[in-house]
Assembly symmetry: C2
DNA sequence: AACATATTTGACACCGGTGTCAATTGAGTT
DNA sequence: AACTCAATTGACACCGGTGTCAAATATGTT
């Protein structure tokens, strides 16, 4: 409780507050021997700079906030882990803010949050990262942010994965397994990633010279339940698809549920595939074949991008091009997919 | 950016800084008409108090931290949601800190974290909440905390659920379903909740006058994989258990995986039950019967308990008894359990 | 040795609020 | 109208740091 202040150190080292400040900030133009003297005092007294005092003086709070709408626990958790790792390394704190994407007052709520906490910057997770009104507000207020998700409009810093390619690769793989009736579950129509997965799905068909079976495309919303519902629709079609490829794992697991509840054997009678590689894919039987999205790295990169951005002067920032980093996904073959044998 | 300060308001209202401060803190002894005048200026200028200035002056940062070791994504997510809700209502920020329970320098790392952020208080999630060295350090430094989990030692504020009763109720239910060979997967031996679930399991047997089949008790560690492993052991026994009751859902799902990979039909040939009611229980087929732990409420209660504690003076605090709130769990019957028919 | 220049250092105001305490104001009494 | 006492208000220092700028010191030159 009786915390050591910068003044205590200054007195002990026989220098001024400012000089101590210089040492702890590693500023140039401090004579080595002075620096040593001060450092000794710091060590001896166990001084730690009070982040609040610094924040007030510098008008920089040393923490960033993660804005999320809790899409799927696994997805968010993985991101969060990467983000936290970067924050810890850079001595930044991470604030959490949970929002309701659907709330009509979303933008105001977030604005209030920012004012209440003075977070230096924000990390936006889909579907928030696609919300134009939100980005407008942040730009207007001059708040730095990094968007995570699927590359859509060029706007601000962005980190995500190559969703089109992920869907393409998976579709190609399924085609290689001789599947010709591929049921496809679309993502949420409002989210950028949705168009991308569909695009990849179609491109792979085109490349293989196989027509897309339009009747086997069902709408989904990235939720487990929407996967169940879409699978229900697809499994009622004749001929039945021999594989269901969902735009994310959450829905793939939903499809698995629906298949199993009907007594359809996976993968013998139906293959199932998803995208993301969230933890649940290996917690169900059979484990789900998926495209691994490096969420941990994405989170890490997003956070360190944001932190680096914050360290630059606002002027520099506006002149420099925005970061736009895309990771590739990797095919992870598990037990839920199998060669189709007519 | 050009933020409005308390001085701006003071000038506009023709009063002193301090009077404005009184108004925004709703202090007594401000003449109504003065208050009105100030409030008008505040509204007109759109003034928001800078939390950093306040934090520095009051030596209270207005945020608390959630320390977690990410046991199961679903578990943590639910808690987090409740915690965040309470924080939002009380205008508190929530910091996140991810730690490695196993790290030998855990205590120092957490200490550094506290010093770096000046969080007013901490919320501890199992297994952190059982870690004595950590509690010692926090007590020594005078940091307020609330522990979440299973009631063990009386130490600090505590919020959790009645684990013994949960295990008791589930066991009783399984016995009512005529199961006599109940496979039981223990929790992590280091965590307090483990003893409690075992206790409840045994008490239910005792009450029903049925002996516990000791050969059907397997060690688990609360992880999915440990559930798989324990189920493997149990399913190799003769006679095979007719139901597997795991100390948490994560392991129950693991057991389900193992059963399904062996081609054992659940619930026809084997029933499965867990505790917690995390989201995955309804994302697998069949849905898992479980004891619903009100994690959201627990998180909410923990956070508001902590916040209320922080609002009291340290002196008062040490004199007052600690909060110790236990929630009851509720039996949620789903498709994974079924009456045993010899 | 005297001077010009570069490097180091410190005094002081300031970031945006709050606590203390004395000064001012208003109400109630005689 | 003068006086007492409580309610209201403001001046000022302070929380723990940083930025500015001028003063002090060190270094290099002739």
């Amino acid at each position: 409780m009786a915390s050591v202040t910068i003044m205590d150190v200054a007195r002990k080292a026989g220098v001024s507050k400012k000089t101590v400040s210089r040492v702890i900030n590693n500023e140039a133009n401090v004579r080595p021997q002075t620096k040593e003297k001060v450092q000794a005092a710091i060590d001896e007294l166990g001084f730690k700079r009070n982040p609040l005092g610094m924040a007030l003086a510098k008008n920089r709070s040393l923490f960033i906030a993660l804005l999320a709408d809790n899409p799927s626990p696994g997805y968010l958790m993985n991101l969060q882990k990467g983000i936290l790792q970067a924050c810890t390394e850079e001595h930044m704190g991470l604030f959490l803010y949970d929002c309701q994407y659907r709330s009509p007052s979303l933008v105001e709520e977030i604005q209030t949050f920012i004012e209440n906490t003075l977070a230096d910057g924000l990390i936006l997770v889909p579907p928030l990262s696609d919300k134009v009104e939100l980005l407008d507000m942040l730009d207007r207020k001059g708040v730095s942010y990094v968007r995570i998700g699927t590359k859509d409009t060029k706007r601000g810093d962005f980190v995500g994965s190559n969703t089109t390619k992920a869907a393409f690769d998976m579709t190609e793989y399924l085609i290689k397994l001789k599947h010709r009736h591929i049921g496809f579950i679309l993502g949420h129509p409002d989210q950028a990633s949705s168009k991308r997965t569909e695009q990849g799905f179609r491109e792979a068909h085109a490349k293989a010279g196989i027509p897309v079976d339009e009747s086997l495309i069902a709408q989904g919303y990235y939720t487990h339940q929407s996967g169940v519902d879409a699978a229900m629709t697809l499994l009622n079609k004749t001929p039945r698809p021999t594989v269901i490829f969902a735009s994310n794992d959450e829905m793939a697991v939903g499809a698995l549920c629906e298949a199993q509840s009907r007594g359809i054997k996976v993968p013998e009678e139906l293959s199932i595939a998803g995208i993301d590689d969230i933890s649940i894919t290996t917690k169900v039987w059979p484990n789900i074949t998926t495209m691994r999205q490096p969420l941990n790295s994405i989170g890490y990169t997003a956070a360190s991008t944001l932190i680096r951005r914050l360290q630059k002067k606002p002027l520099e920032q506006s002149e420099e091009a925005f970061v736009n980093q895309l990771f590739d996904c990797e095919l992870v073959i598990r037990q839920s997919t199998k060669t189709y044998v007519g």
